[in-house]
């Protein structure tokens, strides 16, 4: 049996560590869009690829962003 761990959120959290809220989607992509994160052990995406599909334009808190990310993944 292979053990599976969800590690995407760990790397996304670290990539967003220096973000203050509230922040707009546009400013967020400006700030972190080019940062690469592991979404699985052997798969990397940019934060732009993860944030762009979100249909919300402004995030008042980290909670709102992470929930939106989770819903769009």
């Amino acid at each position: 049996m292979v053990k599976e761990y969800m590690i995407a959120t760990h790397f996304i959290t670290r990539a967003l560590a220096d973000i203050d809220y509230p922040i707009s989607k546009v400013r967020l992509i400006d700030a972190v869009g080019s940062r690469e994160v592991k979404v699985d052990w052997n798969e990397v995406k940019t934060m732009r690829q993860l944030i762009e599909p979100i249909k919300i334009e402004k995030f008042d808190t980290a909670a709102s962003l992470f929930n939106a990310l989770g819903a769009s993944l």
């Binding site: 053990k3 761990y5 959120t9 760990h10 996304i12 959290t13 670290r14």
Partner: protein, 312 residues
Amino acid sequence: MNIGSTHAIGGKVETETLSVVGVQVAPISAQTIDDVDKNVDQLIDYMNKAACGFPGFDLFVSAECALQGFHPTLWGKVLIDIDGPQIRRLQDKCKELQVWGVFNPLIKPREGGSLQNTAIIINDQGELVHKYVKMNPWIPGEPSHPGWECPVTKGPKGSRLATIICADGDYPEIWREAAFNGANIIIRLSHYMSPWDAAWEITNKAMAYCNQCYVVGVNSVGIDEAYSYIGMSMVLNPDGTVIVQAPKGIPWIIKADVYPGLIDQIRRKCVTSNFMFSFKHRGAACPDFGGIGDTKCRYEAYKDWAKEARLP
């Protein structure tokens, strides 16, 4: 948490939040290097669990003997090199997860001589940035070379990290040394066994309070050829109160957020109960000493290190 003193503390406190994960595991009591490699597999697995359960955490802390156990007769066959493959695997993992890690290898010194019971800290770039050799081996059972200093290393998020190992914690001196050298977090990696269950708890709480530091105490579980290891890993506030505590005797993961900047504020702004000041300035409020206090060492236990304790 009751920080501060009788006197109000003014001004703002600036601090980052350090997320710490501690894992209490039962290591294999290694008899071969294969066993050591399996213990490293276990640690790496727990690092993955930590990333899964506590995304974005900063610091991973494991227990004493988590790499090798401490077999009563075969421990000498499983000593490893400080730059060997087992440590490199942990370095690679820290770098991959972008976290700092604290580990305890039993090292075969390059220059020869007896084993060194060592605490290392690896940073989030996979670099080995801290090495501490246990200053108070658990004699007579532990034949390791006693260490010679208690270094403090700048860690993430404003932390200044000291490491002590297991029986070290039975000696107030090492805790004071760590705080005196600037630590705001003292990490105690342990392989502490029954029947000293109460002592584990008492020493962690008392020494966090007496030295006004956060304490991260991570202890083993399991039963080997000789002992049962009690677990009860804990993270404590600088007033000795418990933030989080693991149960006794079973593998567990604890996690706590601590605020290293608060300790710095205590050091700078506390008036009463500022032990780092008052222990070296006894009676500083007494007019006879001009506001500085008696700064001579008056303790018979420390004045002459060669002198032995009085026996009844």
